[in-house]
């Protein structure tokens, strides 16, 4: 950040107090953000019976039996790989086709493109619970039930509305004269797109990717209905199996959740680095 030392010094004392208060509020909210999640992590190191008899207690020593049970008995090792495959593939596909489409939609004034944009947006509003049965029948017709590629294609398609929506907004913000230089150089549309525009919306791409990655990684409805064999299942399906009709194995569920959420945290740390790197490098050009 630039340092405007000359005029800033005059208002430094109240500013320092202001900073202190702000930091205090940020830290306070951190506790609120974390609170329930800590409950979850603690619960994963206890047994379900213990949780039922004493919901807020803790027993020493911590028990890792739930983690072991989730990984082995509940096949989380297999589900983990499937989740990675399905989520990475579908986010890659939906993000790449969406970046392409968003660029065209942002740069074009044609009526057809406006209609297309509205159509993409409409996909965002489709209630998932409603769509699942026709999607099932569609895949059933292609004989793609219980196939991971089928699931990947559905997720890719489902990610397009959101990705296009966010990326179009960012593309539109970029002034057209930035591409002028490369037009004069005689670059093709794709060249312009790839070399000039994409690096500039890198933060937006990272944001879109992470905010598609999370719902796909955590979604259990589509895999539950579109997959059949247990060796195709993804992590959330495994988690769903811990929910009994009347009684839930909370410790096992929490352990499964910790396993499921950890990669997301790591991914988010990496992706937000991209976003911030993009902020300080990209837009500052």
């Amino acid at each position: 950040m630039r340092n405007f030392s000359t005029w800033q010094n005059t208002s430094e004392k109240p500013k320092r107090l202001g900073n202190f208060v702000v930091m205090g509020l940020l830290i306070l909210y951190s506790f609120i953000a974390l609170g329930p999640l800590l409950l979850m992590v603690v619960g994963s190191f206890r047994t379900s019976s213990a949780i039922f008899t004493n919901p807020l207690g803790f027993e020493w020593p911590p028990s890792v039996q739930s983690f072991v049970k989730a990984w082995d008995q509940a096949h989380f090792s297999v589900y983990f790989l499937n989740s990675i495959l399905v989520t990475v593939s579908s986010v890659l596909i939906s993000t790449s086709v969406s970046v392409l489409a968003a660029y065209a939609l942002a740069r074009s004034r044609a009526r057809s493109m406006r209609i297309l944009e509205a159509t993409f947006l409409s996909g965002l509003m489709l209630p998932i619970q409603l769509a699942i049965v026709p999607i099932f029948h569609l895949l059933d017709g292609f004989n793609m039930i219980d196939s991971l590629p089928g699931l990947i294609l559905v997720y890719s398609a489902a990610g397009i509305p959101f990705s296009v929506f966010v990326l179009v907004a960012f593309f539109r913000q970029l002034p057209e004269d930035l591409e002028e230089a490369s037009v004069i150089d005689g670059a093709s549309a794709f060249r312009r797109f790839w070399s000039v525009m994409v690096p500039l919306v890198r933060p937006a791409i990272a944001a879109v990717a992470i905010f598609r990655f999370v719902p796909v990684w955590n979604d259990f409805l589509y895999p539950l209905i579109l997959l059949r064999s247990s060796n195709h299942y993804t992590l959330p399906v495994g988690l769903a199996s811990f929910f009994g009709q009347y009684q839930t194995d909370w410790s096992l569920l929490f352990a499964g959740l910790v396993i499921t959420t950890l990669p997301l945290i790591i991914l988010f740390l990496l992706a937000s680095k991209q976003v911030i790197a993009g902020l300080t490098a990209g837009m500052g050009k």
Binding site: T53, S96, F243
Partner: protein
């Protein structure tokens, strides 16, 4: 750029995926039967049970799959209407079975499964089509509704199992004064409230006799006895945890398991769970004696069918599946089921080794009653439970009273219910 390599890699993986993950096909005569259920908590027990069948039938493999209960209706819809669906499915009872009957997704079993004659006709009601009366499944469990109590707490305060209403109230007062929560009920989650209330109300309005009267039109739900039944339940609020509407179902289970509450009104499905979570808990059960002025002189045990095992009309292994279904109507299966899951099989001749289960079943046999709302009033919208579940909660919130609730129930079901004179 790194990106294109990633994309290429992903595409490669995606195309390889089918080959990496295909299940190996069994070339010879081995048949795999897919059985679906909504009870994940029973998964391991069923695997053991089906292992017995597999041992006796070497070329049959039973693939038992469970699905989370909240999404099960969707799963069943897609499973039964698509290709490569399951062979045998667990179906819900009474009104919840009908969408699949009407849709033609299930095979009628009359005359095909001899074991059905080993099941009391009353217990087949939950597995039948409402309109055509045919049987579409083999009922797998009956559940009873009663009061569970903590024997140690009762002993500590010198309480005995109440045989009269006065005794029951006295027990509650003693417990309350001693600082123990007399009855553990959670009114935050509405779906079980009708069931819980039935433990109190059935004997007041007179169970089977009332059912006959309502179905024939001689009485309605606005009958003074039914209103009295509802208000009996409402009056129990003072013996329930504070802020009962804020107590969740899970909380109420915890209160009983952790011995902070002395009694728990609920279904027989709770037994196995309580005993598993706290093996030291000494549990007993009793029928709640009705107050004076009630239709019945003794407590009753409302009973209902939990669900059935049905045959998918589109199954590609009809013959083999039917054989398995026949076995699931046999005493051997019923006995394994009751032993492993501590639940009541409706098949005659099954003995319950869990003494509490045996006691509950004996009560149900001696003092039977229907779980009226789901047995007879779930055929169209609004269902009896649709109205009573939030209605009972409103009762505890104080925004409605027993007479108003009874009227609301009658008005609601009258939109589709026509008594059979």
């Amino acid at each position: 750029m790194k990106r294109s390599r990633l994309v290429a890699g992903a595409v490669l993986l995606a195309t390889l995926a089918p080959t990496l993950y295909t299940t190996s096909a069994h070339a010879d005569t081995e048949t795999t039967l897919n059985v679906w259920s909504w009870r994940p908590e029973d998964a391991s027990a069923y695997k053991d049970i089906f292992a017995v069948y597999e041992a006796a039938h070497p070329n049959i493999k039973v693939n038992f799959q469970t699905y989370v209960a909240t999404q099960y209706p969707q799963i069943l819809t897609t499973g039964l209407t698509g290709k490569n669906g399951p062979d045998i499915v667990q179906t819900q009872a009474y009104g919840r079975l009908q969408p699949f009957v009407l849709g033609g997704n299930l095979v009628p079993l009359n005359g095909k499964v001899s074991g059905l004659s080993n099941i009391a006709t009353a217990n087949l009601g939950g597995s039948s089509g409402h309109i055509d009366g045919k049987i579409y499944g083999v009922p797998f469990a009956t559940q009873t509704i009663q009061m569970f109590y903590n024997k140690d707490i009762f002993a500590k305060y010198n309480l005995s199992v109440p045989k009269t209403w006065a005794n029951f109230i006295k027990n509650n007062d003693t417990l309350k004064k001693a600082g123990v929560i007399p009855m553990s009920v959670g009114a935050k989650d509405t779906f079980l409230l009708p069931l819980i209330s039935e433990a109190f109300t059935s004997a007041v309005y007179g169970g089977p006799a009332f059912e006959r009267d309502v179905l024939s039109g001689n009485k309605t739900f606005e009958d003074p006895l039914y209103v009295k039944a509802i208000s009996t339940f409402a009056d129990m609020k003072e013996y329930m945890p504070d802020n009962v509407v804020g107590v969740s179902y899970s909380d109420s289970q915890t209160l009983f398991i952790s011995e902070r509450a002395a009694m728990f009104p609920g279904g027989s499905f709770e037994l196995g769970f309580f005993q598993a979570q706290n093996p030291n808990l000494k549990i007993g059960t009793f029928q709640i004696p009705p107050p004076p002025g009630s239709a019945s002189k003794t407590g009753l045990t409302p009973t209902y069918v939990d669900g059935s095992w049905s045959l998918n009309a589109k199954s590609t292994n009809q013959a083999a599946a039917l054989n398995l279904l026949r076995w699931m109507a046999s005493q051997q299966f019923g006995q394994l089921f009751s032993n492993k899951l501590s639940q009541m099989s409706p098949i005659r001749g099954v003995t319950f080794i869990n003494p509490l289960l045996a006691q509950m079943a004996a009560n149900a046999k001696r003092y039977p009653a229907p779980y009226l709302l789901i047995a007879d009033f779930r055929w169209a919208a609004p269902t009896g439970t649709d109205i009573m579940a939030p209605g009972l909660q409103k009762l505890f919130l104080g925004t409605t009273n027993p007479a108003q609730l009874a009227t609301a129930l009658q008005t609601g079901i009258s939109t589709w219910f026509k008594p059979k004179k």
